[in-house]
């Protein structure tokens, strides 16, 4: 029922979207902020990557997209820390503004075609002789995962973790929480943008609507990963986010095989997230906790 091609593409997409799951692991789980910038940042990453690749620099496209994503994250952080706008609203404001920015990046067109453009995948194919798109996708996902595991153990990483855990205590350690929130959101949005950047080159097209619902897809992946992995160590959580993203892509692939119209996928994702976040809390309430 499921061909090798379907499995491969689920693995490839899983690794690419895993970056969004890792970004949300950082913002949602570590910093305790539901970052609504995610959708717009993902599209921003697509748009920057496509535009720079079309201009002939597919490799430069990735750091450029990450920088753009970090900038978007810094705006959400600024709205939240300096203007005291509630975090969810701050993300929605940036996200709304990004729609125009994303169109502008793509030359006020709603999509960019990259059919004749070199991508990191086509360059690697030339260099290595194999066309496996999984290799670069997996390498990027694992590299980012490893980076996060180490980063979260550094002093800066510790202060970001503590900010989501107990902000009072962070201030008592003479660390500015506005600073840690800004660094955290810039990093998480740069990862989301990187995901969009790789995806645009993977499918050789960028579209203004690619990021729609991305925050929910990322959360669904993250939560699937959390239920699969044992609790505890940081590297298990990071690995869980990557695995969760791959499993999510398999669920989607199976749903598509079952002739489920692709329009239904967003609804299914929404239900998965609502249940996955809601059920543990309901269980705890029944046990008499809070």
């Amino acid at each position: 029922m499921i061909s090798t091609a379907v499995i491969m593409s689920a693995l490839e997409l899983g690794c690419i979207y895993a970056l969004v799951a890792l970004a949300l692991f950082l913002s949602f789980r570590i910093l305790n902020i539901a970052d609504m910038t995610t959708d717009g940042t993902f599209t921003l990453g697509c748009a920057v990557s496509a535009t720079v690749a079309v201009a002939g620099h597919p490799i430069l496209a990735l750091p450029a997209a990450m920088l753009a994503g970090a900038a978007a994250g810094s705006i959400t952080a600024l709205l939240q820390t300096k203007f005291r706008i509630p975090s969810i609203l701050a993300g929605i404001i940036t996200n709304t503004g990004l729609y125009t920015v994303n169109l502008a990046v793509m030359g006020f067109s709603s999509n960019v075609n990259m059919l004749k453009t070199d991508t990191i995948f086509s360059l690697l194919k030339e260099a290595l002789g194999t066309g496996h798109k999984l290799i670069p996708a997996a390498v990027i996902a694992l590299a980012v995962g490893l980076f996060l595991i180490f980063f979260l153990k550094t002093r800066l990483g510790l202060s970001i973790r503590a900010t989501g855990d107990n902000a009072d205590m962070v201030r008592a350690s003479s660390i500015n929480t506005a600073f840690t929130i800004t660094v955290g959101l810039m990093l998480s949005n740069s990862l989301t943008a990187l995901s969009g950047a790789v995806l645009a080159q993977y499918q050789k097209t960028a579209d203004i609507n690619l990021g729609t619902g991305m925050v929910i897809i990322g959360l669904a992946s993250l939560i699937i990963g959390e239920t699969l992995m044992p609790k505890g160590k940081m590297w298990l959580k990071v690995l869980g986010a990557i695995l969760g993203s791959i499993v999510y892509r398999f669920i989607i692939a199976i749903a598509l095989r079952m002739d489920l119209p692709s329009e239904c996928l967003k609804l299914i994702s929404a239900v998965i997230v609502a249940l996955a976040i809601g059920l543990p809390a309901m269980k705890a309430a029944r046990k008499g906790g809070n």
Partner: protein, 265 residues
């Protein structure tokens, strides 16, 4: 050391809830002073600590620490010099992080020169281990356990260690043993005395317990309605009894059930 001059703070100004929490506070602390603070609920004790720690900027007056005016310095910058502990044991530590990671954060107060990308070193670990063993709670063997698994007393002892890991110029203790059971409270208080004495830390401690307010430290102040209404030190403090102090409370009309119970007459 610490000089508070004419500090006032009114909350919710211009509304029916208007409350003058601090009303012209003047207080001077010498280096090494250990001052206990008494007063009924709403007297302004915690607000006074807030003004010193920088939780808010006072309406009038100035806070000078060690010759530097810190009145407008944000709280996170003041915490480099001022350690603070609350009644709630959950407030001072990050529950999902390990003991070691919590200590590493507290240690950052001193290490503005180290790279933000450095990790906890072997030397740090050995240092933390030694400091933890001085608490006598066996925490040195649980450095990789999340703090959320510790009891309230253990968390409060750890918070005390964190607040003094880098010796602060000033330590603010806001009823830091009030939420603990008597035996644990006694233990944390013993630790407090030892750490403060060993490091010669200047200290302000809020308490509702008159005997321990008179026994601990070298000065006692009593607050009521946002003012300091009584100051005791030296001979006068040494010879005053719990009953006499209660009498003083009565004269000020500030006696509360909590203070009466603690007096244990």
């Amino acid at each position: 050391m610490l000089q508070l001059t004419n500090i006032t703070k009114t909350f919710a100004k211009g509304t029916v809830n208007e409350k003058t929490a601090l009303n012209g506070i003047d207080l001077h602390l010498e280096k090494g002073d250990f001052v206990t603070v008494l007063g009924s609920n709403g007297a302004g004790k915690s607000t006074l600590f807030g003004a010193i720690a920088g939780t808010f900027v006072p309406d009038t007056g100035s806070v000078v620490l060690d010759g530097t005016d810190i009145t407008n310095l944000p709280d996170y910058k003041r915490s480099k010099y001022i350690g603070r502990m609350f009644q709630d044991p959950l407030k001072g530590t990050a529950p999902s992080m390990t003991i070691e990671e919590n200590l590493a954060l507290a240690y950052m107060r001193a290490s503005s020169h180290t790279s933000p990308f450095s990790m906890i070193s072997r030397a740090d670990r050995a240092d933390f281990r030694e400091r933890l063993s001085m608490l006598g709670l066996g925490l040195e063997d649980r450095m990789n356990h999340p703090v959320g698994l510790l009891s309230g007393g253990q968390r409060q002892a750890l918070t005390l260690l964190m607040a003094t890991l880098v010796t602060p110029k000033l330590l603010l203790l806001d009823e830091h043993t009030a939420a603990l059971d008597p035996a644990t409270a006694e233990k944390v208080l013993e630790l407090t005395k030892r750490i403060v004495a060993d490091n010669g830390i200047t200290c302000l401690m809020i308490t509702h317990n008159i005997p321990s307010a008179l026994e601990l430290g070298n000065r006692t102040i009593m607050m009521h309605d946002g003012k300091i209404v009584l100051e005791l030190s030296g001979q006068q403090r040494r010879h005053i009894t719990t009953e006499q102090l209660l009498q003083a409370f009565h004269q000020q009309g500030v006696v509360s059930d909590r203070i009466l119970f603690s007096a244990d007459l």
